[in-house]
Symmetry: C2
Subunit: 456 residues, 2 copies
């Protein structure tokens, strides 16, 4: 192989510095998940195809990575299908397994499969990679991690309150102050659709309304009319074009607007409970905002809808999202199991923290000190100290080879190791170590205790 090897498009290698930063974010998310009572599960990377297929729409089915059966996989294939090269028809006969596309469907499968062992309400979190055969582009990968927390088996709105707190807690701990947690409710959207008398135009309506800041009230209304929403319908929700104020003011406006819609009013009450209690309990640094244009996951969310926008100084899409779905496990035959959950967008959170320069300097996997190798005797003396230092959980290492000293110092520099330890005849005789600070250039002669204290 003359050519340098490469990796499939849309996938990534992570260097030590990148892994350290990713694991720092994951550790913060994980510890907060657990603090809020969520427990981890892990599911296999691949599922039986019938578990995944048909759960994400036609587009989703196309984007699921299928695994070829082992052995003589063509043996049972239909000769006609082969002859006609009908890829679509062939797939199910040569592939029985597929890579996980998200964590929600495997979670639903897990809940149904293990329903007799699970104690409900079940608060689970899951941090694992998923795979999608999407066209790779900036910030979109074919393999990426999802970080999900869901509660299943309770309709209590306290869950929604806690999920808002959970977002606030994670982003505060990551130093990402000023994220906006947008909230909406599917029932509000249904109410609006009812009021404008056009259920099928709901998406057009919210997409247009979302452009208010950009194209102004007249522009939005023009677009709505073009999409076939009548002027009289638009008139009925006129307050939405000047939808300002505190959350509770907004909720009051919605309450008037949706008075005629039973479902809409249910949504208003849910929102009110969640927002009032979040306000009672307080948030650290995040801002909760009601956004009636928020319409993500319209196909499955039935109650609250969440989306998190990064601090305003960063231009980036949402860094989290979630909502309530009343029938999580129905697809696998277990009815009436309500769920609510949120997800953290690891890759985007990484980019935001990087852009704002918020990774702590301590986030690194490098060693505290490099012992310079001056030969076998010195190396043994060094290794004795290294062995003891490690027993105190101090990360140190010996340069393995007795090569030119300049090269060894260069190694420390390139590895961003801040201290070198030098051991020669003098040090060995006096049972000491020369400790050199590679940033300041200062050098001290210390005994083992001094070494330990400096590197702890």
């Amino acid at each position: 192989m003359a050519q340098k090897p490469s990796i499939p498009k849309g996938t990534r290698d992570f260097s030590p510095a990148e892994v350290a930063k990713r694991h720092y974010i994951i550790a913060v998310i994980k510890s907060n998940f657990e603090k809020f009572g969520f427990q981890p599960i892990e599911t296999p990377s691949f599922e039986n195809s019938e578990t995944l297929m048909g759960k994400y729409g036609e587009e989703g089915d196309r984007l699921i990575f299928k695994i070829l059966n082992s052995g003589d996989y063509l043996a049972k294939a239909d000769p006609i299908v082969l002859q006609n090269k009908e890829s679509n028809k062939l797939t199910s006969s040569i592939s029985e397994k597929a890579l996980r596309y998200d964590l929600t469907v495997p979670f639903a499968r897990y809940v149904v499969q293990h329903q007799n062992e699970i104690e409900f309400p079940f608060k689970r979190y899951q941090i694992q990679p998923v795979w999608r055969a999407d066209r790779p582009q900036k910030g979109r990968f074919r393999e990426f991690f999802q970080c999900d927390a869901d509660v299943v088996g309770s309709k209590s709105l306290w869950q929604e309150v806690e999920l808002v707190q959970l977002y606030d807690s994670v982003f505060t701990q990551l130093g990402l102050e000023g994220v906006t947690i947008k909230i909406n409710n599917r029932k509000i959207l249904s109410g609006i659709a009812e009021v404008i008398g056009a259920k099928d135009k709901l998406i057009d309506f919210t997409v247009a309304l979302d452009k208010l800041d950009k194209i102004g009230e007249d522009g939005v209304k023009k677009e709505m009319v073009e999409k076939g929403i009548s002027e009289s319908a638009i008139e009925k929700v006129q307050p939405l074009f000047n939808f300002k104020g505190t959350i509770s003011e907004k909720i009051d406006q919605l309450s008037l607007l949706l008075a005629a819609s039973e479902e809409g009013m249910k949504g208003v009450e849910e929102l009110r409970f969640i927002c009032e209690n979040v306000s009672n309990l307080g948030l650290n640094t995040a801002i909760l905002d009601l956004d009636v244009t928020l319409a993500r996951g319209l196909n499955y969310y039935t109650g609250a809808i969440f989306e998190v926008a990064p601090p305003k100084s960063v231009s980036m899409g949402s860094i989290g999202g979630g909502g309530r779905y009343d029938d999580l496990t129905g697809i696998f035959g277990l009815k009436d199991m309500s769920g609510v959950g949120i997800s953290f967008g690891l890759d985007r959170i990484y980019l935001v923290i990087e852009e704002l320069n918020l990774f702590p300097e301590t986030v690194t996997s490098t060693s505290k000190a490099l012992f310079i190798n001056y030969g076998e005797k010195e190396a043994l003396y060094s290794m004795k100290a290294i062995t003891k230092l490690r027993s105190f959980d101090i990360k140190v290492e010996l340069y393995p080879d007795n090569v030119k000293v300049a090269k060894q110092f260069q190694h420390a520099d390139k590895r961003a190791i801040n201290y070198a330890v030098i051991v020669g005849e003098t040090e060995m005789k006096e049972e000491k170590f020369s400790l050199k600070n590679l940033i300041s250039g200062e050098q001290f002669l210390v005994d083992f205790e001094g070494l330990k204290t400096a590197l702890l």
Copy 2:
């Protein structure tokens, strides 16, 4: 879907209790890897097929999971191949990617691809799942984690010394005292083959010799003769049939036995350096032993060979292994890059710790206390305390629904939560909490500070 959903054979779901235990082991391994100066990398779950194919022998190629190309994958397939249903020939035209089979080949690929960014010697660790289309059986899975640490770019034997220490450090910290780290050297094996004048019989020789305890010297010799090893050859290595004593005594014996073999003597010297320095530095709880029948990885190891046996009270195969390979990256065109590494067998280590009942009781992901839900007002009062407790990193939760109290206590019991917090009219009026120890049954009235202290 009437039938309960299931997962592909050879894969596993991990429950919260299992994940907590697995992550405990991984955390110990990881922190030790870093303490010894290894840095993490992560590579994609799937690689280009040409990266993996042909690297693990014919059997390996068969066991690699292939991913079906997306879209109209049959378009470019050879019609004749399809007509003849030649699965083997078709594969490369309908599948370009494959799931990682181990962590070593992706590591070699990584080193070659990123050689200009890497600072050598490069000490990397990698803890990720791998996939093999093996026939599943007890303790053998189609998806499992590998935990590898390797150094590439140095031939220093101090690496081998440190890898022995690393094994000792991890197993000591896991409470697995008395593991045996068996060491051998490929050059010793070559020396033996040279002395018995039968390079091709080396495996037969070591397999037979390994049965010494079971079938005795005569039995072993009989088997060797049956395998075609001459009696005069066997005579030449007679000392191996009574190969006892300390490591240094064994090394002295080998030194006499292999005096005629240059390569064998090189192996003796390497072994001596490693074992003497391990002895100089001392081990905590592990036992280092020289085992000349250890012949794993004979196809790729060129120097030291390691294998770790669990404590003698447990009947289980090896829980770790590794060795030195002089040409790790040659398959990808980068020559003369020596590597040495070890691997930890996560699944088996789990089983051993479970069998010896060595998982600390603190290894759990469950909450410290469950607040009983007596209604909206009480829940808000509870949530205020919960919010404050979580700010001190204390894992607590509210039962989300106001259901029968007995059911809520049952929930705490099934979740193995040890405390319940009860908030009624009295507690709210007095700004107190009733804290009930669910194991002893004792109940105390405490203020917030008391609650915090009890749950910290």
